[in-house]
């Protein structure tokens, strides 16, 4: 039996009809149309499905969609404003923190939460690597991803952020 799920998806109140057994990953990609939320391991190992649930990064594949009733969910679609990529996205392309792009939406969401929480504290390599340890990338070797996050934080400090 399908049930209605009402939650805030990328700042918009949304109601979707879901199966109680569906994961948030399935609902976001399926009924929600948010195909940036990538599906890979479906076991919490890779981080490709990372989204923000009430501002905190979670693996959408390990969350039951029914449990986010009334909560707020953000995917990387929500970073784009009026068709303009977010400065965080620009940092990833400028610093080559993206190659095939499969891990990127998950990386972006985790990095977005990290940069927001860090405030004025400059992020170190160690903190960035520890925070992103649940996001696998098979292409970049991570060096450029760490650089991208640092560059993004500089953009935020320079006021280029939303």
């Amino acid at each position: 039996m399908k049930i209605p799920l009402t939650f805030v998806l990328n700042n918009q109140e949304t109601t979707l009809m879901i199966d109680p057994g569906q994961t948030l990953l399935e609902v976001l990609r399926g009924q929600g149309g948010m195909t940036s939320v990538h599906r890979s391991c479906e076991e919490g190992e890779c981080g490709a499905c990372t989204v923000l649930l009430d501002d905190e990064p979670v693996n959408a594949c390990l969350v039951l969609a029914a449990s986010v009733q009334g909560a707020s969910v953000m995917t990387s679609e929500g970073l784009v404003k009026d068709g303009t990529p977010h400065p965080l996205m620009k940092a990833f392309t400028d610093e080559l923190g993206i190659q095939c792009g499969f891990c990127t939406p998950g990386m972006l969401m985790n990095a977005y939460a990290l940069i927001r929480k860090a405030g004025d504290t400059e992020l170190t390599d160690a903190v960035i690597r520890k925070t992103l340890e649940g996001n696998l990338c098979r292409c970049t070797g991570y060096v450029n991803i760490v650089k991208s996050v640092k560059t993004a934080q500089k953009l935020k400090m320079a006021g280029e952020w939303w």
């Binding site: 599906r39 520890k130 649940g134």
Partner: protein, 313 residues
């Protein structure tokens, strides 16, 4: 993946049209009670068809990989929306953590750092940020995995768990909680409501270390926790616990008793670590051989003892 006729075998279609490469979740009804009485009612109504869940970080992979199967008509009862199970409280010298509290909250709680810093150190090395943001310590203990990383720190801290069912509450020491791989003293219809941890004494120091097949987001090949209390240059109290080296997380009491009244010099540390390793009977599996596990158990106990010694002097 395909069978001999070239048909796809591992991909299945599910209701809702999405394509998945692993097993579908069973047909289920989801409940999110807001209070404990509501939850107890649900368990009473649905009986064996009810399954209590918290973060689901073990439940979903267990279903996906086919390790667990459920009949259609499963009732999942999510405890994470119950306020009473979502608190970290301190009562004089006791820390009381609700079963629904996430690992991230345990890691960032000043009360946990003050009362049981060794637990925070273990949680920091568990899973990933995304998993810690939803996973709970109650779930970690109820899974009763020999590799549960919160078990060794709780064992050395003399922690207890509070279990509840329709008949009332019982308190069980963590040391008596596990009965085998995936098994505990919990009976059907019973749930864990809280984990209680006595405050670490000023003259005590505790350490936790784990080794996996990589450095992050990994299940322990061996984990170790040690708590030592010193008085007058000799060891007054000792707790040593190991994970992933026996059917359950275990305390190695012979090695603990050996330390009593002795100074923590290199010889004593070495002998104690050796005793701890010879007291356990690890298995060989995907992750490591029994022999390797024994070697690592010895090394980790030794390093934990040395860390406590350094901290106390």
């Amino acid at each position: 993946m395909s069978d001999t006729n070239g048909n796809r075998t591992t991909m299945t279609t599910r209701p809702g049209g999405s394509f998945i490469g692993s097993r579908a979740m069973p047909e289920l009804v989801y409940h999110a009670p807001k209070t404990l009485p509501e939850l107890m009612d649900l368990i009473k109504i649905h009986g064996p068809a009810a399954r209590i869940v918290a973060g689901c970080t073990d439940v979903i992979p267990s279903i996906r990989t086919g390790r667990w199967r459920f009949d259609p008509g499963l009732h999942l009862v999510d405890i994470t929306k119950i306020n009473a199970l979502n608190q970290i409280e301190t009562h004089e010298d006791m820390l009381k953590i609700g079963a629904g509290v996430t690992l991230t909250r345990i890691l960032t709680s000043p009360d946990v750092k003050g009362f049981c810093p060794v637990l925070a150190r273990a949680v920091e090395q568990m899973a990933s940020l995304q998993v810690r943001n939803t996973a709970t310590m109650g779930g970690n203990l109820c899974m009763a995995s020999p590799a549960a990383d919160t078990a060794p720190p709780l064992l050395v801290s003399d922690a207890t768990v509070i279990l509840q069912d329709a008949r009332g509450e019982t308190t069980v020491p963590v040391a008596d909680f596990f009965t085998g791989p995936g098994r505990s003293v919990m009976t059907p219809g019973q749930m864990m409501t809280h984990i209680c941890i006595p405050k670490i004494k000023d003259q005590d120091s505790a350490a936790f270390l784990k080794i996996g097949t990589r450095t992050a987001v990994i299940i322990s090949v061996v984990s170790a926790a040690v708590r030592i209390g010193m008085a007058g240059g000799v060891c007054e109290s000792a707790r040593i616990a190991l994970g992933s080296v026996a059917p359950t997380p275990v305390r190695v009491t012979a090695a603990e008793q050996f330390l009593s009244g002795k100074p923590l010099d290199d010889q004593v540390v070495d002998a104690c670590a050796g005793m701890a390793a010879s007291a356990v009977s690890p298995i060989t599996d995907l992750r490591a051989s029994a022999g390797y596990r024994k070697d690592v158990a010895k090394t980790l106990v030794k390093r934990c003892l040395m860390a406590c010694r350094k901290d106390l002097t």
